[in-house]
C-alpha cells in the first residue's frame, strides 16, 4: 500500500516538476510569477487532443505539433503581454496581473472554441502493468517517469553546457550586467518562455493520458501545485523545482490514501507553508544577503 502510494505520488510529482520548471526558470530571470503557465499546460493538452480527434492525426505527430504550437504561444505571451511592461520598467505586480489576464483570455478561448466539458483523452499506450509483490506499476507510469527524467536531465545539461544555457544563467544572475556582456536578454527571456511552455505541454499531455481526460480548468490546480512545488524547492533553482514537485506529488497521494481525499490539496499547501516557516527560502534555496 505504502509503496504503491509512493509510485503513484512520484508519477504525479514528476508532472508537477516538469510544470514547476517553467515557473522557476521565469522567476529566476524576471522575478515574476507567471500565472499563464498553468493555462499553457492545459492548452498544450487540448491542442494535442484536438489534433488527434478532429484532424485524426497520429498521437506522436499531434504531440510534436502541440509542443511547437505551445512553444510559440509561450514566446507570444512574453512578447505581447510582458515585453512592453519590461520596456517601461513597470512594477512586477503589473506583469503578474498581465499574465492573469492572458490566463483568463486563453482559458475562456478554449471554452468558446471546444466547449467547457471534460473530454476523454484517447488511450494511446496499452494499459499493461508490471506486478511485483503487492504493488504494481503501469507502463504509462514508467513512460511518464522516464520522459520526465530524460527531459529534466536534458534541460540541466543544456543549461550547464551550451552557450544559450550559459546566457540564461547569466541573465538570471543579473539582467543589467548580462546586457553589458552582449547577451540579447529579450531573446533569452523569450527562449525561457518557449522552454517552459514546451515542458508544460509535455506534462499536460502526460497527465491527460494518465487520467484519460482533459478539461479547460485542469491547468488551474496543476498550475497552483506546480508553483507551490517551485517555491517549496526554492524558487529559481532547477533541482529545487524537481524536488518540490516530487514532494508535493507524494504528500498528496499519501494524504489521499491515509487521511481523507477531501483534504488532499490542503495538505500539500500545509506542508508548503510549514517548510517556508522553517526555511523561508525553500528547501534548496540559499539566503541572499541584500546589500545597500
Amino acid at each position: 500500500m505504502f509503496i504503491q502510494q509512493m509510485i503513484n505520488g512520484i508519477t504525479l510529482g514528476s508532472t508537477y516538476a516538469l510544470t514547476a520548471i517553467g515557473y522557476t526558470m521565469v522567476f529566476g530571470i524576471l522575478e515574476l510569477v507567471n500565472f499563464s503557465h498553468g493555462t499553457v499546460y492545459m492548452f498544450g493538452a487540448f491542442i494535442c487532443l484536438i489534433l488527434m480527434s478532429t484532424f485524426g492525426l497520429n498521437f506522436f505527430i499531434a504531440f510534436g505539433i502541440s509542443i511547437v504550437l505551445t512553444g510559440a504561444l509561450g514566446i507570444a505571451i512574453d512578447r505581447i503581454a510582458l515585453l512592453p511592461l519590461r520596456k517601461r520598467n513597470a512594477p512586477k505586480v503589473t506583469a503578474l496581473i498581465s499574465t492573469i489576464g492572458v490566463s483568463i483570455f486563453l482559458q475562456n478561448l478554449v471554452m468558446v472554441l471546444w466547449g467547457s466539458e471534460t473530454k476523454n483523452f484517447p488511450r494511446v499506450i496499452a494499459t499493461k502493468h508490471i506486478q511485483y509483490d503487492s504493488f504494481r506499476i503501469s507502463y504509462l507510469q514508467i513512460i511518464i517517469l522516464v520522459t520526465s527524467l530524460v527531459l529534466m536531465l536534458g534541460l540541466t545539461l543544456f543549461i550547464k553546457k551550451t552557450k544559450i544555457g550559459k546566457a540564461m544563467r547569466a541573465t538570471a544572475q543579473n539582467i543589467e550586467v548580462a546586457k553589458l556582456m552582449g547577451i540579447n536578454v529579450d531573446f533569452i527571456i523569450s527562449f525561457t518562455f518557449f522552454l517552459g511552455a514546451t515542458l508544460a505541454t509535455v506534462a499536460g499531455v502526460m497527465v491527460g493520458m494518465y487520467y484519460q481526460s482533459v478539461d479547460p480548468m485542469m491547468g488551474f490546480m496543476a498550475g497552483l501545485k506546480a508553483f507551490s512545488a517551485a517555491v517549496l524547492g526554492g524558487i529559481g533553482i532547477l533541482p529545487g523545482a524537481v524536488l518540490g514537485g516530487i514532494l508535493i506529488g507524494v504528500s498528496e497521494t499519501i494524504a489521499t490514501g491515509y487521511i481523507h481525499s477531501g483534504y488532499r490539496d490542503a495538505i500539500a499547501f500545509g506542508i508548503l507553508i510549514a517548510v517556508l516557516l522553517i526555511k523561508p527560502t525553500g528547501l534548496l534555496g540559499k539566503a541572499v544577503q541584500k546589500k545597500v
Binding site: 503581454a81 498581465s98 489576464g101 492572458v102 483570455f105 471554452m111 527560502t281 544577503q289 541584500k290
Partner: protein, 330 residues
Amino acid sequence: MIKTINESIKNRIASNRIVIYSAVIIGLISLPFMLTPFIVRMLIMAGIYMVLAMSLNLITGVTGQLSLGHAAFYGIGAYTSALLSIKLGWGFITTAFLGAGLTAVIAVLLGMATLKLQGAYLAIVTLGFSEIVRIILLNWMSLTRGPMGITGIPRPRILSFQFTSSTEYYYLILIMVVVTYISMNRIIESRLGRAFRAIKEDDLAAQSMGINVLKYKVMAFTLSAFYAGLAGSFYAHYVTYIDPQSFAFGESIQILSMVVLGGLGSMPGVMVGAGILVFAPELMRSLAEYRMVIYGGILSTMMIVRPQGILGGRKVKKKGRDTVVVTESS
C-alpha cells in the same frame, strides 16, 4: 499655460469643495431612485468590492506586500457572521463585527508567522492559506454544510429596522464604503500609514529608521483583513446564501486585479477599478460566451497601456533606470 489652467481648476475645486461634496452626496443618495433595481444590485456588488479592494490596497498597494489570499478573509468574515446569526440568532452589527474581529485575529496569527517572507514566498503562502480555508469550509460538513453552502442567512436588522429591498441595502453599503474610505484615508495619512509607505519604498531603509518592519506589516495585514471580514459579513447577509466557491482563489485574483487596474496605493483608483471590473462583464453580456475572453484581453491590454493603473501614478522617482543591486552569486 496648461499648468495655470490646471492650477485655476484646482483652486476652483478647492473653493467650491462644499458645493461639490454636497452634490456628490445628494447624487449618491438619490441614485437608487433613478436606476433600475438591476443596476442598483450591481452597485451594491460594486460597493462590496470597493471595500474589499480598499482593504487589499492597504497591504498590497500601500505596504507593498503581495497577498494572493484576500478571499480567505472575505470568506471567514462571511461564514462567521452567517453562522453566528443562524445558530445564535445575534443581530447583524454584533455578528458583522465579531466576524471581522475573528478575521483580524486569524490575520494576526498568520501575519506574525508569514510576513517575514517576501515576494513570491509571501504570495504562495497567502495563496496556500486561502486554499486551506476553502478546503476546510468545503469539508467541515457539520459546521459549514460543505459544498451545499449555508442557506437562509437572516437579512440584517439594525435596531428595529429590517433591511429587505435593494435600495435599503444600497444605503447600508454606501455607508460602509464611505466609512471605509474615510477611516482608511485617516490610517494612510497617519504616522502608521507613513510607516507602511516607508516599508513599501524600502524595507531596509525603513528598518534603519527605527520602524519595526514586521510589527507594522502585521498591523497593515490585520487592518486589511478586518475590513475584508466586514465586507464578507455584509455579502453573506445580502445574498443570504454562501458556499466555499464564492471565496475561491479566483476571487482573490479579482480583487487584486481591481487594485492593480485602479492604481496601486490610490484609494479613488482602486474604487474605480472595483467599479469597472464589476460592471465590465455585465456590460459585455451581449457578447455571450466571448465575454470572459475579452475581459482577459482587456485586463492585459490595460496593464500594457497603463502599468501604473488608471489613477495611479504618484511614484517616488529613483535615480537611474534601475538600481543595480550587487548580489552574492549563488
